[in-house]
């Protein structure tokens, strides 16, 4: 099977949740790939050549051809390796719902994680945290509705929303610590998601991809320092 997959490379970095998505997807499909890690703070020639428009990771290189944008890459993986377990639901309406939540996470929810981590004022930080908590309530509701009593958004096995949201778990946990024990995953308010998070993290396709919370905290400090330095010099 492996030799029929062609040449598969992924340009990325261990700490990026967006990169974790295609890594998990490739694992779901049992596709071996070469993980080309970018150095923090610089962009390789290969990255700039493969994604000249956005110059961002992740980029999947399949037989030399680049595919960019994490959600688009995951859909591509699902379509190419269609004989493996499916990642998107088969029903068009369910697919539309899955894409909706992935877009919500990217456009509305995750920016607040970054906002809360890099906030310069107490006020800004609290505002970001409030938004995150509202988001968690929405996501809890979505989980209950979409999982229909099963372990994952995708049902019996992890699917598109699980990967889109689960890839952010390491950062979510790190943020909770960094904000002095703020509860985003809350046993009382988001019991479903707490259960889901544990199951997701333990999934064979996931466990070697999600970094330890400690490592993300260390990395976050570096990143925040970099952001603040850039802001100060501009």
């Amino acid at each position: 099977m492996a030799s029929n997959n062609g040449d598969v490379k992924l340009i990325g970095a261990w700490a990026s949740p967006y990169v974790m998505r295609p890594r998990i997807a490739l694992n779901v499909k049992s596709v071996e790939y070469e993980f080309l890690q970018e150095q923090f703070g610089s962009k390789s020639e290969l990255l700039l050549k493969s994604n000249p428009v956005h110059k961002k990771i992740p980029v999947l290189l399949h037989n030399g051809k680049p595919i960019c944008e994490s959600s688009i890459i995951v859909e591509y993986i699902d379509e190419v390796w269609s004989s493996g377990p499916s990642i998107l639901p088969s029903d068009p309406y369910d697919r539309a719902v899955a894409r909706f939540w992935a877009a919500y996470l990217d456009e509305k929810w995750f920016p607040n994680v970054r906002g809360a981590a890099a906030a310069s004022s107490e006020e800004a930080k609290n505002a970001a945290v409030d938004q995150l908590k509202e988001g968690m309530a929405l996501l809890e509701g979505a989980y209950v509705e979409i999982s229909k009593g099963k372990d994952f958004f995708g049902g019996e096995k992890i699917g598109f929303i699980d990967i889109a949201f689960g890839s952010m778990l390491a950062w979510l946990r790190a943020l909770q610590v960094m904000l002095g024990g703020v509860k985003l995953l809350d046993e009382e308010k988001t019991p479903g998601l707490c259960k889901w998070a544990a199951k997701f993290s333990a999934d064979p396709a996931v466990k070697d991809v999600l970094p330890e919370t400690e490592k993300i905290i260390e990395f976050a400090k570096l990143l925040v320092a970099k952001i603040k330095a850039a802001a100060a010099s501009s």
Binding site: V53, H62, K65, I67, C68, E69, I72, I73, E75, Y76, E79, V80, P92, Y93, R95, A96, R99, F100, A103, Y104, L138
Partner: protein, 333 residues
Amino acid sequence: MANELILLDTWVSPFGMRVRIALREKGIKFEYKEEDLTNKSDLLLKMNPIHKKIPVLIHNGKPVRESGIIVQYVDEVWHDKAPLLPSEPYPRAQARFWADFVDKKIYDTGRKIWTTKGDEQKSATEEFIGYLKTLEAELGDKPYFGGEKLGYVDVTMIPFYSWFHAYEVSGNFSIESNCPKLMAWAKRCMQHESVSKTLPDPKKVYEFILQLKKRLGIEARIALAEKGIKHEHREEDLGNKSDLLLKMNSIHKTIPVLIHNGKPVCESNNIVQYLDEVWHDKSPLLPSDPYLKGQARFWADFVDRKVRSSVFVCSVSLSIRYPCRISLSGFMG
């Protein structure tokens, strides 16, 4: 099986237009409901409680949200009629990539062109042209982004053609001379009934923007910026108006309101003229010649009256930080 389709939308939204074009390309019948974004219907709020935005496609009672997601949904359900996405995974991924590029870059940069002036506007215009040129390069010699036929990227991008005139006039530049190939592509798309029936008259779009600028207080803010007048912004949540707003504009209860040393000045045209008269020595906005001044006032009033009947204003939240960032909630699909 009965296929009941209702589209919640608004005539000028490029995001709504995408969905209309896709449905028309496939010859799918749907009921169109025009939303007044200053007074959102119960149906819209029920069908899209999280974002409260159009377009929303309601298929047999179930809502599909986000324009790109709706178009893909329509393409999947009615896959045998005029397919928009390619059938092979790699070209599909490319089509999604370029549609995503349009989504990320075109609307926001275009908005900067008509909401700012001076250096900021100039750099927004340059950025905008840069993105159009990137799209031109991607188009290459193909008649459409989708190849020989209208495809997903074409449908995603073509609505902005109806906004080009508004961008050009606002930013004082020509898209035709910068991107002739893209204009040729746009005209080719317009030959399709699904497109020509959907896109509004560019002049109406421009009038809409002029009206919107006043309603959002952008004209007032540009005037303040032009004259270098220090001022404080107060963000209004138009769904929950502040006591101050209700007191200062008790008649209309709308923004913008300028409060100068405790005294309110309402209505965008009035504010701009007031600023021009009080700070008459700094960057005059109205002509000094009385006849020309009268003409300027006439045309400002004309826009207000002509567009008022076709009415609507987006409910917005105005950012406190300057330069202004306006988010048009309910407007982006």
